[in-house]
Amino acid sequence: MATLETTLMVVILVPLLFAILEFGWLTQRWLAQDGVTLQAARYAGELGGDRPELRSYVQDQLRLVGIEPSRVSIEVEPAYVAWRQPVRVSLRTDERIAIPFVFATTITVRSTAVARGEVSR
């Protein structure tokens, strides 16, 4: 009887514990990536679009928040932004989460921010 009870408890409580850990971790990654995206959008507005300095800045910021930059795809639209025109920066990462006995899947974490071109050419 005790073995059966323990088995039932493990099957319920272990997935519950892992779900809390995995989703907490995923939320932390999402918020961290979101913060980087916001700063990147501002910087894209200052630079006038998609420039090597922007890519370098994003990679540095991602490292600072504990995200490996090579796993993140960056999109800047438009690549060349005029004064007062909106510039959108999007970051996307595929994160793997695994909950024992329930499922394992890949969740795409997306962050988007829109700033405005500040360079008068």
Binding site: L16, T27, R84, A113
Partner: protein, 159 residues
Amino acid sequence: MMRDDGGTAAVTTLVMLPLLLIVLVGVLELGALRAVAYRATAAADLATIVAVGDQDQAELVRTGTLRLAPDAVDTARDYFARNLSATAPVLAASAEEIAALADVASFPTAPSIDPRTGARYDRPTVRLIASVPVRTPGFAALLLPAVTTLTIRSASSPR
């Protein structure tokens, strides 16, 4: 005396499981709500920063002083909607509606006092206060409101 405790844990679990699930749903919903609040605040911050980033060029050339562009309020509203749209799936109203109803004020000269918040601004400032209705199905399952309204505040000044 020997007592048979067989099945005690199973009964306890059956009794406690609903409570555990209620707590879990509440915690998850609160966590999600906090994440949305963070995102909405960031959207408001970026909107006001964008609005104050654009200066009145004629005034700058004429006097050398920073002065907000005449369309700063519209710009803040526009960029608040654009950035808020990233969280659109969890909002109970469209990003455009929320931005349209937001209280956005421009204080082009300094110092000035915000009549709504009482805050003193020592530089030209754009201030945004918005009510953001968020869908909270987890709370609804616990017989709490299905929509929770967050109040977001942001103010930015140029440097």
